[in-house]
């Protein structure tokens, strides 16, 4: 089932009199529960496409449809609510809140997504996700005491704790070594398949493509 559709998406950056078209009419469909990877050389527009799809920057033209709703016509507040409740994010760096413990990072995300849960249920959810990402023993740790791989695991846990429909991952393994990258990708695949989360990710690492269902190649702002 199609859950996310991108139709004739364009993005133009203006610098003085210079106009540069980064995305030149992208069409893409994401199917529920599947992992789609955007690949291509630097400057091909894959990260720009992902961030526009995730509502982190506006498109210049075209439509994005999510569950039948047109995201491109939404207000900033409507888009924020979609991001908080329906989307999850994993970036190149973990971007954890430095003064919150692992447990508090996940608790914050439940607050942001306005998850209506009692305290006990929250704790159960947090324990469940931490168990899945293998960090139950690091529940009370602060980011400064975590390794790079552990931080990224927490970022993944934070991205899915509120049970989003779509996970956006922008080069989630770029800051990790080969072994940890495989662990993280394996984890993303396991969790998204278990929880039926649709995933759109950007990667430049061809080794990671064995973990995805679809590969979309991009070049010079187009899907090729």
């Amino acid at each position: 089932m199609d859950i996310f559709t991108i139709d004739e998406l364009r993005k133009t950056f203006t610098n003085g009199d210079m106009k540069e078209e980064i995305l030149k009419g992208i069409n893409l469909t994401l199917k529920e529960g599947e992992i789609t990877a955007l690949v291509g050389p630097s400057g091909s527009g894959k990260s720009t496409l992902l961030t526009i799809a995730a509502g982190l920057q506006p498109a210049s033209d075209g439509n994005i449809s999510f569950n039948g709703h047109n995201l491109t016509s939404m207000t900033a507040e409507q888009m924020r609510r979609i991001r908080a409740k329906k989307f999850g994010f994993v970036f190149q760096f973990a971007h954890l809140v430095p003064f919150l413990t692992v447990q508090e990072q996940l608790d914050l995300m439940l607050d942001v997504s306005e998850a209506n849960m009692k305290k006990e249920k929250r704790e159960q959810e947090i324990d469940y996700i931490l168990d899945r990402v293998g960090l139950s023993h690091r529940k009370q740790a602060y980011p400064s005491s975590l390794s790079g791989g552990e931080k990224q695991r927490v970022a993944i846990a934070r991205a899915i704790i509120h049970n989003p429909q779509i996970l956006f991952a922008d080069e989630p393994t770029a800051s990790l070594d080969s072994k940890k990258s495989k662990e993280i990708m394996s984890l993303i695949r396991y969790l998204t398949k278990t929880l039926n989360i649709t995933t759109l990710m950007v990667t430049h690492d061809e080794e990671m493509l064995s973990y995805v269902d679809h590969v979309v190649k991009m070049s010079d702002g187009r899907v090729v």
């Binding site: 908080a84 971007h95 809140v97």
Partner: protein, 344 residues
């Protein structure tokens, strides 16, 4: 537990430094303000301690109470019409003790009134500061240059005029010594509006204080110091809150990216500002009151609850403005920009 409190708990040193700066700056402002008020009391507590009302002096006196003479019939008329009205005179002069040591005082004589001390002929009532200088009840002092002996009856607390201790005289003694048939001033307490009396000019308490030579100039300088301090403190508060928030722009961007409302980020910032400012102000109010107790004897220091409350509100408002101005950066921050900047 809110995210604001969690940040304070984790970054104790950063918030301790910020709180210390607010504490020190506000303590300095409270103490300078206490000293300014103390000097003001030292200059005119005789007048400042009177209830609000209206002072009247002769129109021809050109707002100089020394030159004012209230016509006896007008005085009688006013005193009989207003039961609390009082006519009084103030003269700067000298008292010599038994060892001929000279002390500068402000002689005050008045008609019978609950607002001024009632003194029998040949007696004198003094401000307590003279007791600390060795004058005792029962001592005979001499009023110079008239060489009139006056017996010290008792002492009263905090009655100063023009930085000199007040010496209450009997009105008839005053008239005889200064060869004055008329009093200089009339005061009617508790009036909300001035009354028109032919040949008399009216002054509110505040306006009358400003007619006292040196008072307005001294107060203007002191108020200028206090207000400069408040403005500089405000700027410091604003700059420190701004610096603290600007350092967290990347974090705010990430929080916005995952869907945190901008209004919640503002609440976080305001909560931290209020916590730090209230805690620091509570400590500085406590220390400024403690200073009242340990300040060297004779140092004019007077910090009222009203002034403390006013200054505290000013600091809270300034802190709020400083935090809110820096919060404008949060409103502008783009989540994408923060993500692209790398790890926070």
């Amino acid at each position: 537990m809110s995210i604001a409190w969690k940040e304070i708990k984790k970054n104790k040193m950063r918030f301790f430094i910020l709180g210390s700066i607010i504490f020190l700056v506000s303590l300095l402002t409270f103490i300078i303000s206490g000293l300014a008020n103390g000097l003001s009391q030292d200059n005119a507590s005789l007048i400042k301690d009177l209830p609000s009302g209206y002072f009247y002096m002769n129109s021809d006196a050109e707002e100089n109470y020394n030159l004012s003479r209230i016509d006896h019939s007008v005085q009688e008329q006013m005193v009989s019409k207003h039961k609390d009205a009082v006519a009084f005179s103030i003269e700067m002069g000298f008292l010599n003790d038994e060892s001929d040591k000279q002390r500068s005082v402000a002689f005050v004589a008045s008609t019978d009134s609950r607002l001024f001390e009632s003194v029998a002929p040949g007696e004198i009532i003094l401000d307590r500061s003279l007791k600390k200088e060795g004058v005792k009840v029962g001592d005979t002092l001499t009023l110079k240059p008239f060489n009139e002996p006056l017996v010290v009856k008792r002492f009263v607390d905090q009655k100063k005029f023009s930085h000199a201790p007040v010496a209450y005289l009997n009105m008839e003694d005053y008239k005889q010594m200064y060869r004055a048939e008329e009093m200089q001033l009339l005061f009617i307490p508790g009036e909300n509006s001035t009354q028109n009396f032919k040949g008399l000019q009216s002054f509110s308490n505040k306006d009358f204080l400003n007619t006292i030579p040196s008072y307005s100039a001294e107060q203007m300088s002191l108020n200028m110091i206090v207000w400069f301090l408040i403005v500089i403190s405000g700027m410091l508060f604003g700059i420190f809150f701004y610096m603290m928030n600007v350092q967290k722009i990347g974090l705010y961007g990430i929080l916005k990216a995952i869907g945190v409302k901008t209004s919640n980020l503002f609440k976080m910032m305001w909560t931290q500002m209020l916590f730090i400012t209230i805690l620091s102000l509570t400590l500085s109010v406590g220390f400024s009151q403690l200073f009242n107790k340990v300040a060297p004897e004779g140092m004019p220091y007077h910090l009222t609850n009203e002034t403390t409350l006013q200054l505290s509100i000013v600091f809270l408002v300034i802190g709020f403005i400083g935090a809110t101005l820096s919060g404008m950066q949060i409103k502008k921050v783009e989540p994408l920009q923060a993500i692209q900047q790398g790890e926070v």
